[in-house]
């Protein structure tokens, strides 16, 4: 008998070993995942309609705190106005958004309204024209949700700060998306820490004031034994500063370098200026610019070039840094995650009497803004009219105000108010916009970035060495000349590729009686193409400036 029990126990032990347990766990995990996947799939692909209500779905990749709630608030408000409609929000993670949407677009199960502007969705005209509904014939009529406001009767397109330019695709000559916000960049600071360090939580107004505040923060750290970095910088943050201070220092070159008088200095014009001796990195303005940025980068943590954005955010919200620079898209995250009062300030410039003030031209202008968080309508939507209506509501003065207030963003609709907290982000139209950029061509881009990082890291080289290396890279056959040749080649190909767009319109004009806009689109694109002279202006100028034939790519 005992042998029998032992045998049974042995059998039980045999079966109840870890392998079986592992298998059971695996099967259970798989079962749960499969059940969840099916459940999610049903929710996502729930087809209209539910009873009397029309159902539309909207998807996006903005998972930042507040955004989903903001969209839901807009949905709730919209559903009050349209009880016959139900809107379902589908937030999808950024990393998988493109693949997810691609798959559903191809399968014909894509949401009615989807956020555009990522990956293939932004770059491929064929993709956009196949899956998204053109909005061109809708943009000229007023947005009815603006009735009772000062935008009443104004064409929908003209109610956007950027004229809905963000949603316009040049190749297809159509509007495909409606942006819902704009972004600006600012510096954020820890009010409490600043007060402890300087005695006041008023942010510095000049660059000298910024350096003083940074030193005070360092002193605070030394006094208290806390680990404090004045500015939570990283590689991306450095780019923000470089971009922000470029126009204030280098806009003065425009009168010499802007050859086509379009109001900006292109890479080509910058290189021509360099070749003609009208621009040198040894000029006081250029030296001031780079030295200024280098001095600012000294306020970052040592080794900031190896740090990612997330480390800087972490450092700031945990109170290890006094300041950081980022865009309005991060504002809500910082406001909610920080355990202290967060202030917002503009990037300070050298004040009168301060170093580099002499070389300053003016402030940086923020009038050139592109809209963000753009939404388009799926061509295969079962209710495109309802989807459009929802989009119009989201971009109406009230709707956009609601969305951006809740999400902590800047509205794109003219007249939409922004909350007090976001007022520091109001775009500033005063200042200059054109700036110098030396990254002409692939090789130059790589070399310039490498040398710039060496210079900004503060250990490896002084400014003269930086200048020498960058200028020698520019003069290298792989440098500026090759960049010019690449641009020429790109323009020639562009002219050829324009033929495809023109062919589309000509076929539509000749064979599609409903295509009333085909002729106008054709004419606009044709004129653009003719005026580009097949890129030969670049070849001609190269021969003039460099006194040799443009190299072949």
């Amino acid at each position: 008998m005992s042998q029998g029990i032992e045998h049974k126990t042995g059998t039980f032990r045999k079966w109840a070993n870890l392998n079986v347990l592992g298998l059971v766990l695996l099967a259970a995990a798989f079962g749960v995942s499969a059940w969840r996947a099916v459940l999610n799939h049903e929710q996502i692909t729930e087809r209209p309609d539910s009873g009397d209500r029309k159902i539309i779905r909207i998807c996006h990749w903005q998972l930042e705190p507040g955004y989903r709630n903001a969209i839901q608030a807009v949905i709730d408000q919209y559903e009050k106005l349209r009880p016959d409609v139900h809107v379902i929000q589908i937030p999808i993670g950024e990393k998988v958004y493109v693949q997810w949407l691609n798959t559903h677009m191809i399968a014909g199960t894509a949401p009615d309204v989807s956020e555009m502007g990522m990956g293939q969705l932004a770059a491929d005209d064929q993709y956009v024209s196949r899956f998204y509904l053109p909005l061109t014939d809708k943009v000229d009529s007023p947005n009815l949700y603006n009735q009772g406001t000062d935008l009443e009767g104004v064409p929908w397109r003209d109610t956007f700060v950027d004229g809905m330019r963000r949603g316009y695709l040049d190749t297809l000559q159509d509007y495909y998306g409606a942006p819902t916000c704009v972004h600006t960049i600012r510096m954020f600071y820890n009010k409490e820490m600043l007060k402890r360090a300087t005695g006041s939580d008023v942010p510095p107004r000049t660059l000298g004031g910024l350096f003083t505040a940074c030193q005070a923060l360092r002193d605070l750290g030394e006094r208290t034994g806390e680990r404090i970095t004045p500015i939570a910088g990283n590689r991306d943050c450095l780019d923000l500063f470089l971009s922000r201070y470029a126009a204030p220092f280098t806009a003065g070159y425009e009168k010499d370098l802007d050859l086509d008088l379009d109001g900006k200095m292109t890479l080509n014009e910058t290189y021509i200026g360099f070749c003609r001796g009208r621009l040198s990195l040894r000029d006081p303005a250029m030296r001031a610019y780079y030295e200024c940025i280098q001095a600012i980068s000294e306020q970052f943590a040592q080794g900031f070039l190896g740090m990612g954005r997330e480390m800087s955010v972490y450092s700031f919200v945990m109170g290890h840094s006094g300041m950081m620079a980022t865009g309005s898209w991060d504002a809500m995250s910082l406001f909610t995650q920080a355990r202290f009062d967060v202030g917002v300030m503009d990037f300070p410039l050298p004040g009168p009497g301060e170093r580099w003030h002499e070389q300053l031209v003016g402030r940086r202008n923020e009038a050139v803004m592109a809209g963000g968080a753009q939404y388009g309508i799926c061509k295969y939507s079962a209710h495109p009219d309802v989807a459009l209506d929802f989009l119009k509501y989201m971009t109406s003065q009230k709707g956009n105000e609601l969305l951006t207030t809740k999400a902590g963003l800047i509205p794109i609709t003219i007249g939409a108010d922004l909350p007090e907290r976001m007022r520091p982000f109001m775009p500033d139209p005063v200042g200059y916009v054109s700036k110098i950029d030396l990254r002409y061509g692939n090789y130059m881009q790589m070399r310039y970035n490498g040398e710039l990082e060496r210079y900004m890291s503060g250990q490896s080289m002084n400014y003269d060495q930086f200048v020498q290396n960058v200028e020698s890279a520019l003069l290298d056959p792989s440098g500026g000349d090759r960049g010019w040749a690449i641009e020429y080649d790109t323009k020639v190909r562009w002219a050829r590729n324009q033929e495809r767009a023109l062919a589309t319109q000509s076929i539509r004009e000749l064979m599609d009686p409903a295509a009333r806009d085909a002729h106008d689109k054709y004419i606009r694109q044709m004129l653009q193409q003719v005026r580009a002279n097949n890129g030969q202006d670049l070849r001609y100028r190269f021969e003039q400036v460099r006194k040799k034939m443009i190299p072949e790519i």
């Binding site: 080794g303 900031f304 250990q459």
Partner: protein, 460 residues
């Protein structure tokens, strides 16, 4: 009891053998029938085998070989990934070899990484040996499981974890260095090493470079001494290698020194061919030459200036061009990879216990067993790992991209061929050119692999 048809049965028809009374023609017919049945059964067998292999084969052809074929094809094209597909013959290759300064610069770092990775193979081997020698099988199992567990962590996560290790202010590396006092050692070395370099440089210049042209010249001479110890006759069989290396020597030594070196090496080869201590002297001379070159490289060519990066106690490992290469070399510490250990372990487990017993009887100690028994007998595995390591070192770019970005960090110090290839393709849109770079790297890896196959021999 059911007869279980053995494999051999498959080739044999189920028909009966001809009886003694059957005529010759009947016997021939029967034999033909048997032969035919055997053939068709074999064909059936092969068909079945092919059918079973088909999914894997098709998968390999479609997902492995087809992309490789396309890579070869597009290396001759100018291809931007979309509408531009222009056949350009060898232009991409000409550009890679003649007008692209960046591509060849990237191989400097690869050379350093290859040398370092050869050294970094040793912890793996030692770990496998230690694991193998554990007396308790239970503990062996436990350790094997512990080695395997980290494999579940995706590679990208590893890289991000290491990136956070390297963070100057919050990273664990600087915390450990500061906590253990090693930061002080590094600070001291930051002064001492440049001083040492300053002291050894005159010796290097006057003593070594004046004779051998450069340290690489000394190392090459040492390598040639090691080759010469095989004697003139054997060396003669390797004439191609001699020619290549002397050609390299021409660049490093100059013409006069090349002539002198050739004469000296010929003399050494003759001496080694004779009985006596010639071979031993040449062996140790060669090793010494290489070692001296190595010592001078380490002391007088690497850490030559004071960097100042350790002064604040928060060295920027990934943010300073002076520290990027050491950071990359240190990445993965203690360099004991699961797969490597398991591969070596599988090789060690094939060593018969008799060999160990015999060694113990002969009084061979622990180190002796390592160098005389274990290492020689796992040379196949070492060779496999060497090949994978070389391929990985030449191809890898993921780590550099994650740690340093597409430009390879400050001063492009972390730019490797794989990262450059990635930049050319996905940043600059030059897919055809990137394919050509890939083909160049493929040929290099192939050449190195052939060298390994030839010279890393298993000596049982």
């Amino acid at each position: 009891m059911t007869h279980v048809r053995q494999d051999a049965d498959i080739t044999q028809p189920a028909s009966h053998s001809p009886g003694p009374n059957e005529s010759a023609s009947a016997r021939r017919a029967s034999a033909r029938a048997r032969t035919w049945a055997m053939l068709t059964n074999k064909s059936r067998l092969y068909l079945v085998l092919l059918a079973l292999m088909a999914p894997t084969l098709i998968g390999m052809l479609v997902f492995d070989y087809y992309p490789k074929w396309e890579t070869i094809k597009y290396s001759f094209y100018r291809w931007d990934g979309s509408t531009t597909v222009e056949f350009r013959w060898f232009r991409n290759y000409v550009e890679a070899f003649t007008t692209d300064p960046m591509f060849w610069q990237t191989f400097k770092l690869v050379g350093i990484l290859l040398a370092a990775n050869i050294v970094k193979m040793w912890p793996c081997i030692l770990a496998a040996v230690v694991l193998h020698r554990l007396k308790s099988e239970r503990w062996q199992y436990v350790y094997r499981v512990l080695f395997v567990i980290p494999m579940v962590i995706p590679g990208l996560v590893w890289m991000l974890i290491w990136k956070s290790f390297y963070d100057p202010t919050a990273g664990i590396l600087n915390s450990i260095l500061n906590g253990t006092g090693l930061m002080g050692v590094l600070q001291w070395m930051d002064s001492a090493m440049p001083s040492l370099a300053a002291a050894t440089t005159p010796i290097r210049v006057a003593g070594v470079e004046s004779v051998f042209g450069s340290l690489w010249g000394l190392a090459l001479f040492g390598a040639l001494l090691l080759m010469a110890k095989a004697g003139l006759r054997t060396s003669g069989k390797r004439w191609l290698w001699w020619l290549l290396l002397l050609g390299l020597g021409y660049f490093l030594w100059g013409p006069l020194r090349t002539v002198v070196a050739t004469a000296v090496l010929l003399g050494c080869g003759w001496w080694a061919g004779r009985e006596g201590i010639g071979r031993a002297v040449l062996k140790w001379s060669g090793v010494s030459a290489i070692a001296v070159a190595g010592v001078f490289v380490l002391t007088s060519m690497i850490w030559t200036d004071r960097t100042g990066v350790f002064d604040a106690g928060t060295p920027p490992w990934l943010g300073s061009e002076k520290l990027i290469i050491p950071s990359i070399l240190f990445w993965g510490f203690p360099w004991i990879g699961t797969i490597g250990v398991l591969i070596y372990l599988s090789g060690l487990q094939n060593i018969s216990a008799d060999i160990y017993e015999a060694a113990e009887l002969d009084g061979v100690g622990a180190w002796g067993k390592l160098f005389s028994i274990e290492l020689p007998l796992i040379l196949t595995q070492v060779r496999i790992n060497l090949i994978f390591m070389t391929i990985g070192t030449l191809n890898d770019y993921g780590m550099f991209l994650v740690l340093l970005g597409p430009s390879g960090g400050p001063g492009n110090k972390g730019m490797v061929p794989g990262l450059y290839m990635y930049s050319e393709a996905f940043v600059n849109g030059r897919f055809g050119y990137a394919c050509a770079l890939g083909m160049v790297m493929f040929v290099m890896i192939l050449a190195i692999t052939i060298a390994y196959q030839k010279y890393v021999k298993v000596d049982k």
